[in-house]
Symmetry: C2
Subunit: 241 residues, 2 copies
DNA sequence: GCCGATTTCAAACGTTTGTTTGAACGGTGT
DNA sequence: ACACCGTTCAAACAAACGTTTGAAATCGGC
């Protein structure tokens, strides 16, 4: 339930030189992250994980209290610093803007860049990027409430600045455009992170120019999302049937 | 493998008055669609399906040759007419445009509208919409190759018209913007179709103005995607750090 | 009313799932 | 040397998994 980061038993006294080995714990987290990204959570058994991690089957239950605890730990390990980065970058953009509204591109940069950039540079592999692109649609209900809670603070902090940066846009429309931006980001992460072996690359004879660096992907995403969120709203020309 | 729509045994002779009952088959497809959307494919057992459908456990194997066959049938039943609709609408837009390039909004309309609109009006429930939003990220490899094959024709047909409608846009950038549009659409379908019971609605105190009709969602999506795909491309002002 | 084909059914198949158990291991402090 | 604590391990647990089986039930055509 609420035992998100509580280590297994490890009675808290003398908490100085803690985490004696924790190598098995880390290996389990890494391999679980990789396998979850490749086969999904339900498609990965604890035996798959422990076998790939060269650990015992019961290690998952010992270190994480069960498979559910491992799932939460896998996501929490990445999501917490990711969202910290987002908030930090937004703070910087707010300070840089002074009293005037934060430019839309800066808000999007603070939101998007950590997903693509910081996650990779911190010794992270591409596996969590694939997992990120999928996480919102994982059917695990516990995970869903957990993710919603983690994201709530971020969205709540970003939303007022979107409102200021896009004056005149109705609240409902802004909600949906934010959701569109979310979907754009997640699908792009999923596609980009697995592009090396992606079957979609052969869909329409795609050339090699589709390979992007992380920085290029960030810029493309911001360009696309900024233009989309700034799209004129109102009863313009009706669409043809 | 390639037995996508082949009925179980049913030796083909006297193929006139076929499909004697097929009520069990249809019930299984409907309930499987619903449960797949709610719990994911791996999270749904054949016993869950057959129990909810008031059928026998072996019915899945009899009618579809196994769970994999059922999965393919669930997707194929919706995807085939959906993509037919897309191609038909694109044809109409091409004819309407004459020799000039098809307007970007018309291309997007032909691509997006069937997903939101036609799928619902044809007696479809919302369940496949949720499944649609998730299908590209289902870890089932067989399903993936199947979906890629189904979508290949559509993408191959739409791409040349995107090229004409967006002159000057590099091929690589166009690929990614198309992918962005794809992600936008799928995430929007997922969010919109489950909005009634969606936890995201409570994330930032969203008002009731976020409820959209299908038509409103289509127009919002087209506005957003059109603006995003038309975003200026080049080495403009560098983003702030 | 009977026959052959089609469909349903209860029961069981072997495998895999997540989890638990209790003993053995490997350090550290005394 | 001893006891202690955190960790690992092989073995087993009941439950659920997809699938198979062979016998009933159902139906249409003659």
């Amino acid at each position: 339930m609420s035992t998100l980061l509580t280590l297994p038993a490890k009675s808290a006294p003398a908490a100085v030189a803690k985490v004696p080995s924790a190598v098995t714990r880390l290996t389990l987290l890494d391999t679980a992250e990789r396998l979850f990204a490749e086969r999904g959570i339900d498609g990965t058994s604890v035996r798959d994980i422990t076998k790939a991690a060269a650990a015992n089957v019961s290690a998952v239950n010992y270190h994480f209290g069960g498979k559910d605890g491992l799932v939460e730990a896998v996501f929490f390990r990445r999501l917490a610093p990711l969202n910290d980065r987002r908030l930090t970058r937004l703070e910087a953009a707010i300070k840089h803007a002074g009293a005037s509204p934060v430019p839309l591109e800066d808000i999007l940069d603070a939101f998007i860049r950590p997903s693509v950039d910081e996650l990779r540079t911190g010794g992270y592999t591409n596996h969590f990027l694939r997992l990120m692109g999928r996480c919102l649609q994982e059917p695990n209900p516990k995970l869903e409430t957990f993710l919603v809670g983690v994201f709530a603070e971020v969205v709540g902090t970003f939303n007022p600045h979107f409102v200021r940066a896009l004056p005149g846009l109705p609240t409902g429309e802004l909600f949906w455009r934010t959701s569109f931006m979310f979907g754009t980001l997640h699908h792009a992460l999923y596609t980009w992170s697995r592009f090396e072996t992606c079957q979609f690359a052969s869909m329409s004879g795609m050339p090699q120019t589709t390979r992007l660096t992380g920085e290029q992907l960030v810029r493309s995403l911001i360009r696309y999302a900024a233009a989309g969120m700034r799209a004129p709203f109102g009863s313009e020309d009706p669409l043809p049937s």
